[in-house]
């Protein structure tokens, strides 16, 4: 225990030093919001990756891989190909150049200025500020529970202490402090995951041998999962069964595509000085992500073989049905003692890097986008307003952290990713590539995508609608799709991610309304495209 606490203190000392370095280098609003647009490519890539990958990606989704097996590798593929390659090469470069042309400091500001609309900036800022604390609270709850168990410290003390530490360096140091600490935290995560995968494959006798053992374990797949459509961990699920829909629409499509319109990630494209940093970040990011989600999902699935050999039970049975416990249990029961400490610090790092960016983007959305621009309250004291915004975001997150149940982690992550994709992705992507995209098209797409996604979350997709309870209170059922004939397309909608519907709706609205509405001023378009 003493060693754990000493190492945790050393870790925190490094984080504080980097936070202090960020604070010392922060003198004006562009430093605070965009790290002075001069960020190093390694720091940029690691910060992007560490923000992208939270504890929920490793523990929550790693646990899901123990349940569903290798189909989750499609998510890793999308994380790398879409989340890194497409994101940096096709979104990142244009975002940076257009961001400079329009002097945008935040993601909502980029959208607002591209479409010359204070409403778009204010609405986007409000959506980010209102919903990111829920996502942040889920990450906060996860890591606080973990530290409570591991260090034996009271949950509420951990929760408050954790928020206080983050508040100090995010409020004072802005994006520079966030990105410096992210890079350190990402590096720590990287080392931990490399050890984890090498240890697991060597324990099981090699790559092919490990996979073959998992293939041979298929008869042990629990009956309820078989009834839902699962065939085995390396066999996948029967197409269009309820579990196939959950895996492929919510987990793979929802999170895999949703990454493109994440405000806390998109803002990082604007922090670098040239395309060179983005090109190099593709290299670092490609290595980082495969070692994060790729390792978490492979180890999660293979934990079944290790547990079955050692304890005669598959992972979900060892964890007593709670899949969030599978990866921590695997580390505790299977890995060497010294690794447990490293794992704990890496999870601390994963949570802190994601939370710091969530607080930062929530704060700048409230301070700069919603308050200053959306409400047209002027630009004086913009640095102070953003700092105040970060402080308010942290307080709201803390309140959510005290209210939300612990099992909410993966749900809240998918919720925020989905909401952002449906609301912002078409307006963002078409705004970068299509001069014919109009202000009205963007407004209707953003509001329409948001409303559709929200309707499905509240009334159709059972996972959320049952948890929220509004559908039950209004119509007496957990989902409106439950009343349809079992097995029909309408009935299957309750298992289908809202984005399968909401994203195409948002895209169609963007294109159709833009074609039918007045074009944007030619001079403004020239300005937007000036650097492209």
């Amino acid at each position: 225990m003493t060693v754990k606490i000493i190492l945790a203190l050393v870790y925190l000392a490094v984080v504080f030093y980097l936070g202090y370095k960020g604070w010392r280098e922060t003198r004006q609003a562009s430093d605070y919001m965009l790290a002075g647009r001069q960020m190093n490519p390694y720091v940029m890539a690691m910060s992007y990756g560490a923000t992208f990958i939270s504890t929920s990606a490793i523990i929550g989704f790693g646990g899901a891989a123990a349940l569903f097996g290798f189909p989750l590798l499609w998510l890793t593929f999308l994380n790398i190909f879409v989340g890194i390659f497409i994101a940096m090469v096709f979104f990142g470069k244009r975002t940076r150049r257009m961001g400079v042309a329009l002097d945008s400091h935040t993601f909502p500001e980029l959208l607002g200025q591209r479409y010359q609309s204070r409403f778009i900036q204010g609405f986007t800022g409000a959506v980010v500020f209102l919903f990111i604390p829920v996502y942040a609270a889920a990450v906060l709850i996860g890591i606080s529970r973990m530290l409570e168990v591991s260090l034996g410290i009271n949950y509420y003390v951990v929760l408050l202490g954790f928020v206080a530490i983050l508040a100090i360096y995010v409020i004072t140091g802005g994006l520079k402090a966030v990105m410096y600490t992210d890079a350190f935290q990402g590096s720590l995560m990287l080392v931990m995951m490399v050890i984890l995968i090498i240890f697991t494959y060597s324990t099981l006798g090699g790559v092919t041998e490990a996979h073959q053992a998992l293939t041979d374990l298929a008869p042990q797949m629990p009956a309820n999962l078989k009834a839902g459509g699962m065939l085995g961990w390396t066999q996948g699920a029967k197409p269009f069964t309820p579990l196939w829909l959950v895996i492929y629409t919510t987990i793979i499509y929802g999170v895999g595509i949703g990454v493109l319109a994440q405000p806390q990630l998109a803002v990082r494209y604007m922090t670098v000085a040239s395309d060179r940093q983005l090109n190099r970040a593709v290299l670092f990011g490609g290595i980082f992500i495969v070692l994060m989600t790729g390792v978490a999902f492979v180890v999660g699935a293979l934990s079944n073989v290790v547990f079955f050999r050692e304890l005669g039970k598959i992972s979900v049975a060892v964890a007593g049905g709670n899949i969030d416990k599978i990866i921590p249990l695997y580390v505790t029961k299977v890995m060497p003692d010294w690794f447990e400490i490293l794992f704990l610090l890496a999870m601390l790092a994963a949570a802190m890097s994601t939370l710091s960016s969530q607080f930062h983007v929530g704060g700048t959305s409230l301070g700069r986008d919603f308050y200053e621009k959306g409400l047209a309250s002027g630009g004086r004291g913009e640095l102070r307003m953003s700092r105040l915004g970060v402080g308010i975001t942290i307080l709201v997150t803390l309140v959510w952290g005290l209210l939300l149940p612990p099992s909410i982690i993966a749900l809240a992550t998918a919720f925020f990713f989905g909401l952002c994709a449906a609301s912002f992705l078409p307006a963002y992507f078409l705004g970068l590539y299509w001069k014919g995209m109009t202000r009205l098209g963007a407004v209707v797409s953003i509001v329409g995508g948001f409303a559709t996604s929200f309707f499905f979350l509240l009334f159709v997709h059972t996972k959320e609608s049952a948890a929220i309870g509004l559908c039950k209170a209004t119509f007496g059922v957990d989902s409106l799709a439950q009343s349809a004939a079992q097995g029909s397309g309408w009935w299957l909608l309750q298992f289908t991610d809202p984005n399968i519907i909401a994203l195409p709706v948002s895209l169609i609205l963007a294109v159709v309304v833009s074609l039918a509405s007045p074009k944007m001023d030619q001079k403004h378009l020239q300005l937007c495209w000036r650097n492209l």
């Binding site: 001069q38 998992l214 066999q235 040239s274 395309d275 190099r280 490609g286 020239q526």
Partner: protein
Amino acid sequence: MLGIASPELALAYVLCIAASVLCIIYGIVKWNDSGPLTEELRDLDQWAPEGEGK
């Protein structure tokens, strides 16, 4: 393939590694390709026709 029963999931495994390799190769090939610097893009402002700059 690779001890994975479903060819589709074996493909997913291979594509994860292939996508990483693609990122590495892209990063190496474009290592020094900087495009215009942010500073240069900003400097365009002073040459922009009236009403076009910020």
